[in-house]
Symmetry: C2
Subunit: 242 residues, 2 copies
């Protein structure tokens, strides 16, 4: 099998918060990571802190135009942009499981996460119409919102980010995605009236984070077991069908 | 009246396309601008080409943290970020009408438009909870999409950008917003099967652009007429009520 020559159990973790201290999305994602770690204590974790170390502002447009430029005619800037797109994609490809921690900012997607997704899609392996090379990989998306946008709240429908993130991660890239949603009501003093709700939601989000972290760890372990076991059970089987 | 000491009929135009040549959103927005021009031939147009000249990648996070830093303790980088946020907001405030030309990229909002909106909201005048100083200004949003996401098409619901842009421009900033939507079916050869539909949609979008451009021009002209006329009709009236 083509996958056996690289290490199994590599986690990719992306954080889009612009905060390092006091980041709630990081705190929830830490719970997922801890559970992953309890099953994969030794394996490397690939980290991207895109809210703190963002994509260069012109990188995506440069990569898009570079893709349409013959290789020998590309500028240094174009080569650098395509190299960055390839590096980001290599990181995803080399991971066995993925964890994305992305806050909602101004009712929409994190600008840094959108810039990162655009860059990844600028790589030819992840371009529109390409074979979905990430299909079936287990992944967790942790989203954090400043207020509740659930049905029945005044801002129902104001979360314009989660739907798009799930669209790209689950529908386009075909990851096996679980979403953990956490709402900051009660953390923000303006929302104190919802304090009890907030406490319950925090507890729910933490339980969900722990549960999905455990599932994430178990998913890769079991994939590994199946892949290791398969040749023993049916050695004559065409491996492209596995 | 406080508004008479500045020029009337200033248009603000923002383009988010990463293309200069061959940009369909620019072409549709040009039609809106031409109609505006026919009514306001002399007045200045404030332009931002955020897809070509984007916000610096770290500017928004820097501005957010600067806002929470006492003025005398701010770094040069923080001051520069807040100055940029203020400049962007000044441009909006000084305009009488607004035109936004923003393509859909990767089923989501233009990364550059999100970065620009975040920066504007980083200015204290446009922050969450501030008086909506842009309320009622006439505005046009031109969006361009690579394929149709209308009800009944296979990708219904895959436009995750227009809803968010309308949320910010119409609901948060309270602009008097018209949206012109254009779909690139027929332009993209992969979508040739929809060529007739495409021709009809292009014609519709162009008509809509011309109509909204005319309305945009007329809206500001009529506001101007009302404001000029009001003191003559009722000189004793409390002007704060106008």
């Amino acid at each position: 099998m083509t996958v056996t020559n690289r290490m199994r159990g590599v986690l990719y973790r992306l954080d889009a918060s612009i905060r390092v201290e006091g980041s709630h999305s990081r705190a929830i994602a830490d719970l997922v990571e801890q559970e992953w770690r309890s099953i994969h204590p030794e394996e490397p974790i690939i980290r991207r802190h895109i809210g703190v170390d963002p994509m260069p502002a012109r990188a995506w447009a440069t990569a898009v135009f570079a893709s349409g430029t013959p290789e020998e005619s590309r500028s240094d800037e174009q080569n650098a942009a395509l190299t960055l797109a390839a590096t980001l994609t290599d990181e995803l490809v080399s991971a066995d499981a993925l964890l994305f921690a992305v806050p909602l900012y101004n009712f929409g997607v994190s600008q840094h996460f959108k810039a990162w997704v655009d860059m990844v899609i600028a790589d030819h392996r992840m371009a529109a119409g390409a074979e979905p090379i990430m299909a079936g990989k287990p992944a967790v998306l942790v989203t954090v919102r400043g207020g509740s946008y659930r049905p029945g709240t005044p801002r129902e429908g104001w979360d314009h980010a989660t739907g798009w993130m799930q669209r790209v991660l689950a529908d386009v890239w075909q990851l096996d995605l679980k979403t953990v949603e956490f709402t900051l009501v009660g953390v923000n003093p303006a929302l104190d009236q919802f304090r009890d709700l907030a406490r319950r939601q925090r507890a729910e989000a933490e339980e969900q984070a722990i549960r999905t972290g455990r599932q994430l760890g178990a998913a890769v372990a079991s994939v590994e077991a199946v892949r290791t076991a398969a040749p023993l059970r049916s050695p004559g089987l065409d491996r492209t069908a596995v």
